[in-house]
Symmetry: C2
Subunit: 233 residues, 2 copies
C-alpha cells in the first residue's frame, strides 16, 4: 500500500511524480489521457491496455509498461484499469494538476489564437498576461487577457513570479525574447517561432515547429505517392 520512496517524506497524496519516465513514454501519456477522458465521458469505469493500444495503434505491452510506470493502483486481470484513477495518476505525473501561470509574448494572429483557446486549462495552463511591442496591439483585451507593452515584461514576470513563457513573435525577435524570459526567471519556454533558441541548459524549451512538422509530412506523402506508383504498375 505504501509508495516505494520512503525517504521522500513530503506529500501525503500518493503519486509517482518522481519516477523517471523516458521521453517516449512522456510523449505518449497525454495521448492516453485524452482517450481516457473520452472513456470517462462515455461512462466506462474500467479500460484495458489492450483497448487503449488498439485505439491508438500501439503495442499493448508498451501501453501496460507506460501505465505501470505512472499508475498508483495496478490494473486488474479481466477488468483492466480504473479509468478515473488512471486519469488522476497521469495528470499528477505530468504536473497538470498544478496550475502553471504563464505569459505570452507576441499578440499577433497566432498569439491571439492561443489566447482565445480555452482548452489549455485542461492541461493546467493559465495565461495571466500577454505582451507586444506593437502599439496597436497594446491595451487590447483578448479573451479577458490584457495585452501589455513589452517594456513592462520583465518587471511583471518577476513580480508575479511567472515560470512559463510562450513565444509567438517573428523569428527575428525570438532569441531576444527568450533571453529576456531567462533573465526574468522563466524556466520553461514554449516557442512557436521557427528558429532554434540558444539558452542555458537549465531552461526547458519545447518547440512547436510547424515547418518541421510539415516537412515530415511532406516526406511521408512523397514516399506514399512513390509506393503507390510501384504498387499500381
Amino acid at each position: 500500500m505504501r509508495g516505494k520512496g520512503t525517504e521522500n517524506g513530503g506529500s501525503m497524496i500518493e503519486t509517482k511524480e518522481d519516477i523517471i519516465a523516458s521521453k517516449a513514454t512522456i510523449a505518449r501519456l497525454p495521448t492516453y489521457l485524452r482517450f481516457l477522458r473520452d472513456c470517462r465521458k462515455a461512462g466506462d469505469e474500467n479500460v484495458s491496455s489492450t483497448r487503449i493500444a488498439e485505439h491508438l495503434r500501439l503495442n499493448p505491452v508498451q501501453v501496460r509498461k507506460d501505465l505501470a510506470l505512472v499508475s498508483v493502483s495496478s490494473g486488474k486481470p479481466r477488468l483492466g484499469f480504473p479509468v478515473s484513477e488512471l486519469i488522476e495518476s497521469i495528470e499528477s505525473f505530468l504536473g497538470l494538476r498544478n496550475t502553471h501561470d504563464a505569459v505570452l509574448v507576441g499578440a499577433g494572429h497566432l498569439g491571439s489564437t492561443l489566447l482565445l483557446y480555452d482548452g489549455f486549462r485542461n492541461y493546467g495552463l493559465n495565461i495571466v498576461a500577454a505582451f507586444d511591442v506593437n502599439a496597436a496591439a497594446v491595451g487590447r483585451k483578448i479573451n479577458g487577457i490584457s495585452v501589455l507593452d513589452y517594456s513592462q515584461f520583465s518587471a511583471t514576470v518577476r513580480r508575479l513570479n511567472i515560470k512559463m513563457g510562450i513565444i509567438t513573435v517573428p523569428k527575428e525577435a525570438a532569441q531576444k525574447v527568450a533571453d529576456d524570459m531567462a533573465d526574468s526567471g522563466i524556466r520553461a519556454i514554449w516557442s512557436f517561432a521557427p528558429t532554434h533558441l540558444v539558452l542555458q541548459e537549465d531552461i526547458a524549451v519545447k518547440y512547436e515547429d510547424l515547418a518541421a512538422s510539415l516537412a515530415v509530412l511532406s516526406k511521408k506523402l512523397e514516399d506514399k505517392l512513390k509506393d503507390g506508383d510501384t504498387d499500381s504498375v
Copy 2:
C-alpha cells in the same frame, strides 16, 4: 560519381530520395535546413558538422551520419560541407522542392492564422482552398485563399487531385472530416484537432498536438522546479 541505385532509371537529377532514413533523422533534417539557410544568408560557403552540432546541441557524429545519408556530395576534411548543395540535398530528400497543393478545413481562428502565414511556401506547401460549414466564414477570402462551403469539399478535392489536407476544426468534427478527406483521395493529413484519428494505414497523418506539447513542457517544468529545490537546500 553515380548513384547507387542503378535499377532506378527515372530522374537525371542526382538525389537520394529513395534512401531510408529513420524517423529521428527525418525530424532533425528540417532543423539542419533552417540553420543552413541562415548560414547561406550570412554568406557562408561551407559549414562543418561540428558547427551545426554545437549550435543545435547535438552530437557531431550524429549530424555527420544524418548528412551523409541525404547529401549528394560528401563533406571535405577541414572545410566541411558546401552549404548550398546541402540545402538542395535536404530539400530534395524531404520532397520540399515539389510543391504540394493542399486544402484546409476549418476557417476559424487557427485555420485563418495558418492561411495568413506565408512561411510554409518555403516548405513547398500551397494551400489552394479552405472550407467551412459556417455560413459566416464561407465566401470570405483570407490571404487570397477562398473559403468555400464544405458541401463542395469532396468534389473540389477530387477535381483538383489534391493529396494533402489540413484539419483545423473542433475535435468533435475532426473524424468526419478525416474520413471525407480519405474518401476524396487525400493521402496526407496534418491535423490540429486535439483528438486521435482512426484511419486506414495508407493515409499519412501528422498530429500537431498542442495540448500534448504543453503536457511535456509542464512535466519538464515540474522536474526543473523540483531539482531547483534540492539544489538550493
